[in-house]
Amino acid sequence: MSNRLKLTDILVTIVISIGFGILYKIWGPLYYAVKPLGIHIDQLIYGMWFMAATVAFLIIRKPGVALLAEVAASSGEFLMGSEFGLEVLLYGIIQGLFAELLLMAFRYKRYDLLAVSMAGISSCIGSLILDFYKGYIGDLSTWNLILYMAFRFIGTILFTGVLAISIVKALEATGVTNLVRSSSQKDFNSLDQ
């Protein structure tokens, strides 16, 4: 079984991710609309931005998909003229990379809530590292920083874990995932022989 990404996997991943890119773009205004409230309510919805990676991975289940998905989603968001500008591309790359590393640690064999939540949390850590340099979050008051991180972690588990799993379950029920999974793994191989 070849685990390399075929054009089909790449295109499906990118199309899913561009869809998420549109969602990310809509999410931006919502995010900075709740942000001035000050006590970091915005961080609860931050997890949405890690979702493309886990949803795409759960659908296609191949190495490299999570990274590609997050990069594609962020470039989609970027090319639509995101308010966050260039920042989204770099955050996308780092978040995708961190999610990918965690899925790799599970050897791409686990597709359950725990694995994807952990991947989300890994992305979340990546984004916090960037925030530390870019947003000086280390210079927030301690209680405020803890609130900031806790809200972001909670949001991450809700979006990248629970919501991603339930979306993919619903997609499995429509039968569309079989199209991508089986054709790239079993059917094509049997044709090749």
């Binding site: 075929k6 054009l7 089909t8 790449i10 295109l11 499906v12 990118i14 199309v15 899913i16 991710s17 561009i18 869809g19 549109i22 969602l23 931006g28 205004p29 900075y32 609309a33 942000k35 001035p36 000050g38 970091h40 659908i59 590609l68 594609a72 470039s75 989609g76 970027f78 090319l79 639509m80 003229g81 995101s82 308010e83 966050f84 500008g85 260039l86 920042e87 989204v88 591309l89 770099l90 340099y133 870019k134 947003g135 000086y136 280390g138 210079d139 927030l140 008051s141 405020n144 339930s166 979306i167 619903a170 997609l171 429509t174 569309v176 995932t177 199209l179 991508v180 054709s183």
Partner: protein
């Protein structure tokens, strides 16, 4: 959507080079810790954003509105809750200090610069040419580049489909119930049909593309050829000149009496 604009010199800069330059500048901005330097750099970028994109001023100003919101929302949480010693204002948990005020402003300018740099890039770069340039100059594998281009072409269809689904749901009275459970159902009722249709369509297109050997790794020919020109030098030269001038100006005539905004 038909957006008319004039081609400016920024359109003629090589897209891959433009992207790499802006990425370097991103890292550069993250390493600016002095508010005065940040302000002069904001000025450097805004000249390009306001005068060099070839789009009408009305449109540019329209784009600026959300950027100002981002400026405000980024600045405010650091201003209200940042660390600092010289207290200016205190009310309950809010503790505005001189240090946090300047740091908040600094972060606001930083967000504004990122937004303007990104928008300048997007307004002056055609996505198709960007991916051709990435293939030719940065050796991105064609199967990735063409997948990206195909996916971008699918975006208008996705929007159309979204509208169709919304209309269909309205006609069938899907959103008539109230309560948390039906709200959750509503949230899921949109992405599932949208995603499943997109996956099906992407799969069909991918099969067609594979049949036409788009995934071939052999030497291939290109419809568009992108190279380098004098405008690339101009682009890089502009930043080098303006950053040096800005640095001199900020040291000679500091606007704010702060040096490092970090605590």
């Amino acid at each position: 959507m038909n957006i008319s604009f004039e081609e400016s010199w920024l359109h003629k800069v090589n897209p891959a080079l433009k992207l790499i330059t802006l990425t370097f500048l991103f890292v550069f901005v993250v390493m600016i810790h002095h508010l005065n330097d940040m302000i002069t750099f904001t000025f450097t970028v805004s000249i390009l954003f306001f005068f060099c994109t070839g789009h009408s001023y009305k449109r540019i100003l329209l784009f600026l509105i959300p950027f100002l919101l981002v400026f405000f929302s980024t600045a405010v949480s650091m201003i209200l809750f940042g660390k600092g010693e010289t207290t200016l204002f205190k009310l309950g948990i809010v503790n505005v200090t001189e240090e946090s005020l300047f740091r908040g402003l600094h972060l606001g300018f930083r967000a504004l610069v990122f937004a303007m740099m990104g928008m300048t890039f997007v307004l002056t770069t055609k996505p198709v040419l960007l991916f051709y340039s990435l293939m030719q100059q940065l050796k991105l594998q064609p199967k990735y580049a063409y997948s990206f281009m195909a996916a971008i072409r699918l975006m208008p269809i996705m929007f159309e489909e979204l509208q169709t689904i919304l209309d269909a749901q309205k006609v069938r009275g899907v959103h008539s119930q109230k309560g948390i459970r039906s709200l959750l159902k509503d949230i899921k009722s949109l992405p599932i049909p949208l995603l499943s249709q997109s996956i099906r369509r992407a799969f069909r297109i991918a099969v067609a593309m594979e049949a036409k050997r788009f995934n071939s790794t052999n030497e291939r020919t290109y419809y568009y050829h992108l190279g380098f020109s004098i405008f690339d030098l101009l682009f890089i030269g502009y930043f080098i000149l303006m950053i040096s001038l800005g640095y001199l100006f900020a040291t000679e005539f500091p606007l704010f009496p702060v040096t490092d905004v970090r605590y």
